[in-house]
Symmetry: C2
């Protein structure tokens, strides 16, 4: 009887175990099939097919370690079929881990890499996937322009409050660089014996002069600084007004007050300046390089009030390049959408950019002010309609002046101290001045401070104040 009971118990135990096991199987099979089900929403990975190879490749390349001092790209130089790290200035080695000794701080160009960490921190938002058949045609939704990108650029200006765009035409350029000469061309008279005089106020962005002289059209010529023409009765000017100005970052307006003014508002974003009111010029240039930091994308835009000027600019762009890359327009469309969506959130790019540049400015300013050898442009806190408060300066550039007579060539002085800057004469100014870019990587900025310290210290023996840098 006991044996019988034992057998019965054994059978029951097996039955229970079998049942549990069957339940587990049912659960696992459900899991298995739901994971492969084609009816899952489109955001799950199970559906990916033709994008998978490229997506996996992009993630694999992004995962290559460059020690925080560089990054690898899918189109990087290959070593053993693998893209190599591209290191920040002064860092070398296959993983950018080696800091070069005696390396100069390169703060020459306006390379906007201060925004690179923003896009690394928001990787999913920044990813862009293009199909092989994406926009192969010359035509897009509005001739050479993406209509949705146009709409979103207008929405962004309205949300930031930095430009009035209603009643103005919009053109896209291969960088704002292309739009500079396009506007000079469009604002110059045609077939004239008196070409337009292209001018700007010192210190000015060198591109205006260099480009105007290089393209050397019959209908315009570079005529230098506005100061020279302030009291002349000459007309027929095309005046560049850069606001905030490059290099000194001050808000500016027209000096000659003529009708043909090109407002270059590349830096009129809350990263770089307070926004006291929306800009409303008849011809206003902007660029994505200084908005999202994508200088390599070569994408800029201009708002144009006058229909004839707009038609001439459009014509110029058609014959110069048949518009800006549609691949880039698609990529920038994504970034404008992200920037718009994140306004006021924890991922607000303007908040990110402002905080980074303000801190850099404060640290550089403290260092410069610790001696009398150098001085910086005067910038004051100002009310910003975007942040809805009085905000500290956060300029893109330091416009440095060497105050001592023996330091006649300021860029040369810095160069000897291991700092590559952009000398004042390029901006139509004197050698007493030089421009330091505050826009580059953290590595660049830290190296600038490191090299600057002894220059300040050697000027007077007041080293105690700067030991905290």
């Amino acid at each position: 009887m006991r044996e019988q009971l034992t057998r019965e118990t054994t059978a029951n135990v097996y039955l229970v175990l079998f049942s549990l096991s069957v339940l587990l199987n049912i659960f696992l099979l459900c899991q298995h099939f739901s994971f492969h089900s084609p009816s899952r929403p489109s955001s799950t990975i199970s559906e990916l097919s033709w994008t998978r190879r490229a997506a996996a490749e992009a993630e694999a390349v992004a995962a290559i370690s460059c020690s925080g001092h560089g990054r690898a790209y899918v189109d990087g130089v290959l070593d053993n079929w693998r893209p190599t790290c591209e290191c920040n200035t002064c860092y070398i080695g296959s993983d950018c881990s080696v800091l070069l000794s005696n390396c100069s701080a390169d703060v020459d160009s306006g390379d906007p890499l201060f925004l690179e960490p923003y896009w690394m921190q928001h990787a999913a938002k920044g990813a862009v996937v293009l199909s092989g058949w994406h926009r192969m045609s010359y035509s897009t939704t509005d001739h050479f322009k993406s209509l949705e990108l146009e709409n979103h650029i207008r929405l962004l200006h309205a949300a930031v409050g930095n430009a009035i765009t209603d009643g103005k035409y919009l053109v896209f350029g291969t960088g704002s660089t292309q739009l500079i000469n396009a506007l000079v061309y469009a604002l110059s008279p045609e077939n004239t014996s008196s070409p337009a005089s292209v001018v700007a106020t010192v210190p000015y962005y060198p591109m205006y002069k260099e480009q105007t002289e290089l393209f050397n059209g019959r209908d315009y010529e570079w005529e230098g600084a506005t100061a020279k023409w302030r009291n002349s009765n000459k007309t027929n000017f095309v005046e560049f007004v850069t606001s905030p100005n490059n290099p000194d970052c001050l808000l500016c307006d027209s000096v000659l007050g003529g009708s043909s003014v090109i407002y270059d508002h590349a830096y009129y974003w809350p990263h770089f300046t307070a926004i006291p009111e929306p800009a409303d010029g008849d011809a206003m240039i902007f660029t994505v390089s200084k908005l999202s930091g994508h200088a390599g994308s070569r994408f800029g835009w201009a708002f144009i009030k006058d229909e004839n000027v707009y038609n001439k600019v459009s014509n110029y762009l058609q014959y110069n390049s048949m518009g800006a890359s549609r691949d880039t327009q698609s990529r920038i469309f994504n970034y404008v959408k992200v920037i718009l969506a994140e306004i006021g959130s924890n991922a607000d790019i303007f908040e990110f950019g402002f905080n980074k540049l303000r801190k850099r400015w404060q640290r550089l300013q403290a260092l410069v002010n610790s001696s009398s050898r150098f001085s910086l442009q005067q910038l004051s806190p100002q009310y910003c309609t975007y942040f809805k408060k009085i905000r500290d300066p956060s300029p893109a550039y330091a416009w440095l002046k060497c105050e001592n007579e023996e330091d006649a060539d300021c860029a040369e002085v810095l160069m000897k101290g291991g700092i590559i800057s952009r000398g004042g004469t390029k901006f139509g100014s004197s050698t007493q001045y030089t421009r330091l870019s505050l826009l580059k990587t953290d590595d660049n900025f830290e190296m600038l401070l490191q090299k600057f310290k002894p220059l300040v210290a050697s000027s007077d023996e007041n080293t105690s104040e700067i030991s905290s840098f």
Copy 2:
């Protein structure tokens, strides 16, 4: 005893079932964990993280049905937050399913959409994924140029055998359009009282004239057709040689034999022409528009022999746009790699392009030849070093002549018959001629044949021959 045996048997059956179930448990658990294992190779979907959202979005948009007469893009015009179909000419409706009645066949532009099906058929190869921080800098691996793209372009020319690139510099442009004026600028004398004369042989690509006149630099001017200068003792020419020529698709060489010749080899690929030998000009322009079909990407390149000319072109490109979009360079890098890898395979893009254009040409030619009202340029089969055989013609354009006196304006005759073509005068030729693009979508080409039939039929009553079209 029998009961005891039954119980024993029951227990054994349960044991067997339990064991089997456990084995299935183990198998399913292994499956489950291996599927989620991070050690699987990088090509599986399980590892995707930050690219997933964008990849899923791209696939969802690609899956929008446009009835084979259109396609939706990720940056398309939104309707209810969903990109809308962009339909081929003559098709309308939210899914492009409605054929417009009385719609003209638009064969005006050289939009290379004949290659769109190639990239749709090879979707995985064509996908490109860019991170948010991809190449934000102005600088890339070779100043404004991607070094790996340069290397692969050189490899492609070597593999196709259409150009000798050794010992020549390479520049990238925002389309070959940008390179035209860059080369005119670079080949013209500086600060001269006798500007360079820019010329081309009739019929010529209109861009040379239009662009040269629009930019109107002081150092060059448009001087029209080479025929005018053949017996002059004037020097100082910049001569455009387009080979194969646009619009008549014949292989050409310099007429004036001067030293400053710009060879435009946009169509010197096996899609469009036999490749009798590699081109070896001192200045040769190519464009991706007519290689892979990505006209919207705005990317072209030029090989330049002379270092001074190269430096001047580079300088021009720097001041015009600071190079071509790095996003686009990355995308084109992928396509050049794919094209190279598939040479000689079932997915050879040249084979695909050649077959498509040859068939189009044969069908159009049969139709035109069925009456005496029209004629086409004479093209003969020729030995091609790429295909290693004598191949039939497969031109990008038909250069159509109206043979009847009453059809004095050929483009106008076609327009009345519902065909939008590009009239001969634009090419410096007469109104007797007009250009028909054979490069566009299948829908465009079929509509061309449909509209052409009655024009041929109405000229003579010989309709029986063409009933097969």
